[in-house]
Point group: C2
Chain length 183, copies 2
DNA sequence: GCATGCATGTAAGGAGTTACATGATTCA
DNA sequence: TGAATCATGTAACTCCTTACATGCATGC
């Protein structure tokens, strides 16, 4: 049993429950997992083909009018593969945060670069919070699910990060002020 | 002026202040930026060569005994390039969190998969906190710097994440208990 | 008629990891 | 003598993004 690439599981996960086209999967990803697991067309379409060859999904032509369209559904093998993966402990966690990197080296830049880096990072996290809150409102009333638990994580975590940036920027400004006065 | 790849700036950043060999840069990365910006030998050595060709760093042979060794230092052009980058707002922030992905799809797995996913994620963040605390102790006493600010971020953020996992796992367990009793 | 959205795909390239190969030095 | 560490590098590969190409449908 060959290893599946990580993005394959996003596809299997979304196909569990309802059949979807590649286009629909991309739209769902952009509205949900994108903040911790992105996927582009360049991954999704080739991956759907590979999964079909491996017998984990099954594609059927379902044109809408004269517009061709292929809808995929999970096979029994695909479903058990998804479950097996869900029961393994997660192993990978990767972060690439350019703001933290700039902050890390900020001593090398004279001026208020650290503070403006923090402000930009704060704005980023606040924008994510706004976006996730919109999604939360849209799904208000639907039954409680693990998807909403993850959404809460996204909101609360980004709020924490935004507040940290705010607080740290304030501390650095105060420090710079004190240094200027004593100099 | 061609774009530098993002990892180039890690190298420039560490070379600001002291000259280093590729091996030493890798060791520094593993002890600090790794948690939000990793780099492997496969990136560092070719990138040092490219930066030297671009005139941003300068390499000198500094063998240690019979062991060959090349030490790089930042040129004036490299230093101004680093400063220019530090003064731009950070743009990229990427996260790939397999634990969140498994939690997101946990409804598809019967049993307590969500809870054990949360516990594994919690253990991960706790291990990171332990590692960062060790680094913090080693650097205790050295002058306050933006590097320590980032270290505090790493510690506090991972603590927040670990606590969130703990709290959420508790809530899910309580919910499952209630469902079993009412069923 | 034109913009927008639905729908599928590929090609090129960037970024990064892993595994491997090589060889000196240090220390137990 | 052998393990660990210092030191440099490459080749193969995976993963992913971006840009492009194509074409139908819908609604203004």
């Amino acid at each position: 049993m060959e290893e599946l690439n990580p993005t394959a599981y996003v596809i299997l996960g979304f196909l569990d429950g309802q059949p979807l086209s590649g286009y629909e999967i991309k739209a769902l990803v952009d509205d949900s997992t994108r903040f911790f697991w992105a996927a582009s067309y360049g991954q999704i379409y080739p991956e759907l083909r590979r999964l079909a060859e491996a017998g984990l999904v099954e594609g059927k032509s379902r044109p809408q009018g004269g517009r061709k369209r292929t809808v995929y559904r999970l096979t029994a093998a695909g479903r058990s593969r998804l479950r097996a993966w869900l029961h393994e402990d997660p192993s990978s966690f990767e972060l690439r945060d350019e703001g933290l990197l700039k902050l890390f080296f900020a001593d090398a830049a004279e001026g208020r670069s650290a503070v403006s880096t923090l402000e930009a990072k704060r704005r980023h996290h606040e924008a994510v919070v706004d976006r996730l809150r919109q999604i939360e409102e849209q799904s208000a009333g639907s039954p409680a699910s693990s998807r909403q638990v993850v959404l809460r994580y996204g909101i609360e975590c980004n709020e924490w990060m935004a507040r940290w940036c705010e607080r740290t920027a304030r501390e650095l400004e105060a420090q710079r002020g004190a240094e200027r006065r004593s100099a």
